[in-house]
């Protein structure tokens, strides 16, 4: 409860500090970009919701990803792409402290969310996840009714208000209301895969998060369901910040504003494989005029 006013205050401060001019913004950005220097941010002011500084994750002492430094902007879609094993999923799980569930995982560096390091000692991961929703690779509805799936989050968080309205609003924002309004009390397992995934998105929206993390949300879906979820993401970014991990480069190109390309590097004696960011830039630039030849080889399909 005490977190609420803090957060609003922070947002208000951030909003005023971000307001002034593009020049101050332009100064801040290049320092945070790793290998793509001199890139101008998109028109208008941008507020970084996350600032990643030298973030690394190791599982039982073996680094999975390291030296990740870039900002993630508010009300935009940020895509993390790269080959398997490059640490994209590991990284996205740092953004809401889901890595805490793996006892052997150790996170280094700073994951600043609205200026507050999520890995500070006094941060409760449960509080973090209230603000940052997550959608997983495989749709994971709870074995309950559609209604109870949506209501679960608001109930455990003790949210006030009419639950029927909360559920309807979340399902509308998840572009699912018209399909399910007549069968809210049926089991969610009876829905198609695409509907289940949109239910999971609506479920995340029901707790009114600021950020939605999506870890390959369409990898288990057919192209039509994928298209619907992409449309939904574009709608949602008006009100939410979205980070998406995807193996589908066309998807990253279609929906995202910023793209981070990761690659796997072997260490000197070629034993350990560690993920690193090669390039982080405007999506358009990454796909049409990348600064790094490894990015170019990957996005043009020369290496898979």
């Amino acid at each position: 409860m005490t977190q609420e006013p803090d957060r609003q205050e922070r947002e208000a401060q951030a909003a005023t500090s971000a307001a002034p001019s593009t020049s101050s913004d332009g100064q801040a950005t290049p320092a945070l970009q790793t290998e793509a220097s001199g890139q101008k941010p998109a028109a208008g002011t941008r507020e970084a919701i996350y600032d990643l500084d030298d973030v690394g994750v190791a599982y039982g002492g073996v680094p999975a990803v390291r030296e990740v430094t870039f900002p993630i902007y508010q009300h935009e879609i940020t895509a993390l792409i790269g080959p398997s094993g490059c640490g994209k999923s590991t990284l996205i799980r740092c953004l809401n402290r889901m890595n805490d569930l793996i006892p052997a995982a150790a996170v280094t560096g700073t994951v600043a969310y609205h200026g507050q390091n999520l890995y500070d000692d006094d941060i409760d991961p449960v509080q973090v996840r209230k603000h940052i929703g997550m959608v997983f690779q495989k749709p994971n509805p709870f074995p309950k009714t559609i209604y109870d799936n949506i209501a679960f989050g608001p109930r455990v968080l003790g949210m006030d208000g009419n639950m029927d309205e909360i559920v309807e609003s979340a399902l509308r924002r998840g572009a699912l209301w018209d399909e399910v309004k007549d069968r809210l009390k049926t089991n969610a397992f009876g829905m198609s895969g695409g509907q289940q995934q949109r239910l999971c998105i609506a479920r995340a929206l029901a707790t009114s998060p600021d950020v939605i993390l999506m870890d390959e949300p369409c990898s288990a879906l057919d192209p039509i369901s994928t298209g619907r979820i992409e449309d939904l993401m574009l709608e949602l970014k008006e009100n939410y910040s979205i980070v998406i991990v995807t193996h589908n480069m066309q998807q990253a190109a279609r929906v995202s504003n910023m793209t981070a390309f990761f690659t796997v590097e072997l260490d000197a004696d070629e034993k350990q494989r560690t993920g690193r960011v090669v390039e982080y830039d405007e999506t358009e630039k990454v796909f049409t005029n990348p600064s790094d030849e490894r990015t170019e080889a990957y996005v043009t399909g020369k290496v898979g």
Partner: protein, 300 residues
Amino acid sequence: MNTAAERSLSRKVVERASSGRRTKDLMFRLALLFSTSVGFVVLAVLVIDVLLDGGSRVSLDFITSPPSRISPERTGVAPALLGTIYLMVLCAVFIVPVGVATAVYLEEYADRDSRLSRLIEVNIQNLAAVPSVVYGILGLAFIVRGPLGLKPVLLAGALTLGLLVLPVVIIVSREAIRAVPSSIREGSLALGATQWQTIWKQVLPGALPGIATGVILALSRAVGETAPLLVIGAATFLLFSPDGLGSRFTAMPLLIFEFISDADTDLRAAGAAAILVLLALLVVMNAGAIFLRNRYERKW
């Protein structure tokens, strides 16, 4: 020409080999069928034998009257049947919270690789294999006499049987909890639920059918136990039904033991009838477990 000859030759080879294999296959299947039938035939012989001996004695009167040596033809099993049912309920009250809490701790909280939890795990596996008479001695030393000093009463019997089947309940509950996919836990935690909320509202409801099935099977084992109750000094031939936790008691297996070993033929027939009553109780419980498993089994 050449190729056609080769083809017919190869066909013959194939046929000869397959007919030989078919005989082997048939023999193997018969051997399997025979093994399968052993258990079934033994059960059928047992049930038919008991039915012939005591089938005619089973009646409503039989399960509602007390046993009697004076008029063996009118003897009943009421105190033992009630004792068994009370034991079962008390035992469940004891093992469900303790067993499920242990399983939740071991599956959701304990560090699986730590020495302590490995030690606990090995211990539980071993406890499940300890002979029941040993639990009887434990119950006698610690529950009936010793620290608790309850005397051989209903509560002491229930606690002893509870200790006996607790490892089974823990093992089954752990399996049921482990069967709830981690994606459900992740989905719940990602919504900002605490670990406790996740366990209480997602994991346990998902594991409930499996836990309930395991508890029923554990109780049906407890209900059939004789040795530990004999060791703690439960009555065998009791004329009154238990009326409280501190009441003396008897149970169906004990009464069966008493009836069967009697010289009187009427009492021996009553023993057969009591076996039928106990078997019926066990069949009902196992059917309940199967029903629960089929009805609520989740396909994740």
